[in-house]
Amino acid sequence: MIVTNTETVVGYQITQVKGLVQGNTVRAKHAGRDIAASFKNLVGGELKGYTELLTESRRQAVERMLAQAQQLGANGVVNVRFTTSAVTSGAAELYAYGTAVVLQQATPETY
């Protein structure tokens, strides 16, 4: 599966557009990490727990998006975008969406 956030993929031709695919997730860390974060807010520095939260959310959202693309018989997703929304404190909604396409390797002449 070729996934990009550009509309085209260099070296490939889009032969079929399968349509919009999407995946979302709302995740939170356990209360202990929230308490640790509030202490970290006194001394500054990276909130590793929340960075992890974003990484996990992003992976899950992308996974769900790719599962949809697979079901449509696509071999790539182009123009992928991420948006987030604030649902409640200590949680993050991550929404990934893109266009499922069928890509074919381009010949050197059409490159």
Binding site: V3, N5, L42, V43, E46, Y50, L54, A86
Partner: protein, 160 residues
């Protein structure tokens, strides 16, 4: 006996401010040093915000999306000072630098991840901020959260 309570309250405030000044300042300086070092080391890595693939070379592995996340906390001193600033209005400089650091860090993570996968260029870089602290007023944890995404590809050494 009531004045003792006030002294204790004031003492706690002073301790927290000192903690913010020392620990927060140390964390910030350390981060800025790390950023300067990594930005210098990754200076040869080509980054653009174009949707095309400038200078792409054929016959290499397919382009791939790369995502980088980072969340950085404010410290007590910054939060306190910005609280004062909000009374008078104007630029909240301490938060400015916080967001700037988060964006620079997210970009460096993109570059490092792209490099690890064998790519030498990034295009269509997008930086987006996230609200983890939430829109509830009860919790006040100022932090900068950034999700950066880009497409990594192979670029020829000859400038195009």
């Amino acid at each position: 006996m009531e004045y003792i309570e006030h002294i204790v309250d004031f003492g706690i405030l002073v301790v927290l401010l000192a903690l913010g000044l020392l620990a927060g300042g140390y964390a910030e300086r350390k981060h800025l040093r790390s950023l300067a070092r990594r930005e210098a080391a990754n200076g040869d890595f080509f980054i653009s915000q174009l949707k095309s693939f400038p200078g792409a070379v054929p016959g290499m592995t397919a382009p791939s999306i790369i995502v980088g996340e980072v969340v950085i906390a404010s410290d007590y001193l910054k939060t306190f000072l910005s609280g004062l600033r909000k009374i008078f209005g104007g630029e909240l400089r301490s938060y400015n630098s916080l967001l700037g650091r988060a964006r620079r860090e997210a970009l460096q993570r993109l570059v490092e991840r792209a490099r690890a996968e064998g790519y030498n260029a990034l295009c269509n870089v997008r930086l987006e901020s996230v609200d983890i602290a939430g829109n509830t007023k009860a919790r006040r944890m100022p932090m900068a959260a950034i999700v950066a995404s880009a497409t990594a590809y192979h670029r020829g050494t000859v400038a195009v």
